[in-house]
């Protein structure tokens, strides 16, 4: 496996990392897998496309506007789909179905407005490849890597170095006690969803740039999920590591000719299954114990 391939794998992995972290944030707090995140990815990917083509702006503005849209969308989803369930302390099964439904609804909205045509993002960069000695990296890939790193570092510093971060970490450990301590749980949750949506928005733009735009883009949420699982569900660093590994693994698999991209889902399924059997707690080794 060449260094070139590893670099490609890492840059795909960094996009998956953004998805995975956005996913892991919500899991940490509400303790369930937010499948609507896939819908957020799809919608923001298309919105980013609209922004960049209709408003004719460069990548930075696109990213910022799309990220904010993603954040608002996610907060809206929290309000419509999960707020009541939280107030009523509904069983987890309802969160699942609510998130899956929202995900499908969003995907369908895209199908309605854009039908199944393929669209693609405009070229943002004049030079499409950057060279480091003998290694090439697509400009877009390079951008994604840098921005992903910046976004994640920013997130980490908020979580570990600010008061808001302490509130978030407290909330993920024990929601009831945290609210009894005077923290406004609803606001914190809205913030979390906003951040998750922002990350989703950034990922959406990158996904849209990397692949052509199609309504089933949201399926890639599964990569984020798998990355989170590999890393240890809810653990943010784990999600990162898991995502990079997944990216590298994918590049490796697709380069094996008899697998190609056609049968890659089969191999990934088998590997995920084996991984879950051998080490369900992920790399970070966390099993969420139910309180007895």
């Amino acid at each position: 496996m060449s260094v070139q391939q590893i670099i490609n794998g890492i840059s795909i992995g960094s996009v998956y990392a953004l998805i995975a972290v956005g996913f892991a944030l919500v899991f940490n707090i509400l303790k369930f897998s937010n499948f609507s995140h896939g819908g957020v990815l799809t919608v923001t990917a298309y919105i980013g496309f609209l922004i960049s083509t209709k408003l004719n702006v460069n990548i930075w503005v696109t990213l910022i506007l799309t990220a904010i849209t993603g954040g608002i969308l996610a907060v809206g989803i929290e309000y419509i789909a999960f707020r009541r369930l939280r107030k009523k302390k509904s069983p987890i099964i309802y969160y699942f179905i609510s998130s899956i439904t929202v995900g499908i609804l969003l995907e369908n909205l895209i199908v309605i407005f854009f039908s199944s045509n393929f669209y693609s993002y405009p070229r943002f960069f004049k030079k499409s490849i950057i060279q480091f000695g003998e290694l090439n990296i697509a400009t877009t890939d390079f951008m994604m890597l840098i921005i992903a790193i910046v976004a994640l570092v920013a997130l980490m510093s908020v979580i570990y170095k600010t008061k808001l971060g302490i509130a978030i970490r407290a909330l993920s450990t024990d929601a009831d006690t945290t609210s009894l301590m005077g923290v406004n749980v609803t606001i914190i949750i809205m913030v979390i969803f906003f951040v998750s949506g922002v990350l989703g928005g950034i990922s959406g733009v990158f996904l849209g740039m990397n692949y052509t735009l199609y309504p089933q883009l949201g399926k890639l949420i599964v990569k984020g999920f798998i990355a989170s699982v590999i890393g240890g569900l809810g653990n943010i660093f784990g999600a990162l590591v898991g995502a990079i590994l997944l990216g590298v693994l994918e590049v490796l698999l697709t380069s094996i000719s008899f697998i190609g991209s056609g049968l890659a889902p089969v191999v990934i399924f088998v590997l995920t299954l084996i991984f879950l059997i051998l080490r369900p707690q992920g790399i970070a080794g966390i099993i969420i114990h139910e309180r007895a």
């Binding site: 419509i80 899956i100 199908v111 699982v229 088998v270 139910e290």
Partner: protein, 296 residues
């Protein structure tokens, strides 16, 4: 006339598939995002056996259903002891894997171009008869130790284990039963439409079934059947095949989850003995609620 026959046949087949999801999601509380792939397994295996290997239809059915159970074992055995999220993930991955295999084995399955020329062995009577029989089986399941243990583990898995229930085994048995039903529905489907292709059996189809179950009432078999008929067939009848259909279903489900999570039918089950008094009670409730609305 043939339009009505086709509606009834599709409705019956749809009900059988949704029964599978009722078992997995309604009774055991699990989410199988790849359930539609069992329909594909049933349809393709039976189809290939009959077209390419000349098997008689009844034998093909039996082999297809058994294959469905075997695949169910492959997915289910390692998975049923994992958390709910993981089960959703693995079944999703399984569904994708099956579709990938079907798309890439062109010589056997026709790949993305599908399998055509399947003889039309599914009559309306076979469909209706199967549906009634399957409902019979599922009702009996619900009112047996299996159904009760499912409800227990869905309600509180920890407590269920504490009274001696082998939760993993019960989940697996339920999952296998559902796989068998869904595979059978696939056979009926393939031998009615005479043409099948992999993309019909994707995860959105599986998710649609889950939506149907929640719409009717996740604990109510009556509700599920009702919902399968209404959401599955009404649009066809009313020629309401608009692109907004799924959007509307999703909106309805979100409203239901928020305001009436037990679904339209709640816990209610159709019971011939209490039918008359149930209808009377329903009218009484509607009257009193409308009185409150007009006076209040």
């Amino acid at each position: 006339m043939s339009f009505i026959i086709s509606i009834i046949t599709f409705a019956s087949i749809n009900i059988i598939s949704v029964l599978g999801v009722f078992l997995i999601t309604g009774m055991a509380g699990l989410f199988s995002l790849g359930q539609a792939s069992f329909m594909a397994i049933g349809a393709y295996i039976a189809g290939i056996l009959v077209i390419k290997l000349g098997f008689p239809f009844p034998i093909a059915i039996i082999i297809a259903v058994i294959s469905g159970i075997i695949f169910g074992l492959i997915v289910g055995l390692p998975t049923m002891r994992l958390r709910r999220d993981y089960i959703a993930l693995v079944t999703f991955g399984f569904g994708e894997a099956i579709i990938a295999i079907l798309n890439n084995t062109v010589s056997v399955t026709g790949g993305a171009m599908g399998l055509s020329g399947i003889p039309k062995h599914t009559t309306i009577w076979l469909a209706i008869g199967s549906m009634v029989f399957c409902i019979f089986l599922v009702i009996n399941f619900k009112y047996s130790k299996f159904g009760r243990q499912c409800m227990a583990l869905k309600s509180d898995e920890l407590a269920a284990k504490s009274i001696g229930i082998n939760v993993v085994k019960v989940k697996l048995i339920t999952f296998l039963f559902a796989s068998a039903l869904t595979s059978y529905a696939g056979v009926l489907y393939g031998f009615y439409t005479t043409y099948i292709d992999p993309n019909f059996f994707g995860w959105t189809h599986s998710a649609e079934w889950i939506i149907i179950v929640f719409f009717g009432g996740v604990n109510s078999l009556t509700g599920t059947v009702f919902s399968a008929i209404v959401l599955g067939t009404l649009p066809e009848i009313l020629r309401f095949a608009s692109e907004w259909r799924i959007f509307i279903y999703c909106t309805i489900v979100i409203l239901i989850i928020n305001f009436r999570p037990a679904g339209i039918f709640g816990e209610y089950e159709l019971n011939i003995k209490t039918f008359k008094s149930d209808i009377k009670n329903l009218f009484k409730k509607i009257n009193s609620k409308s009185e409150i609305v007009t006076k209040g």
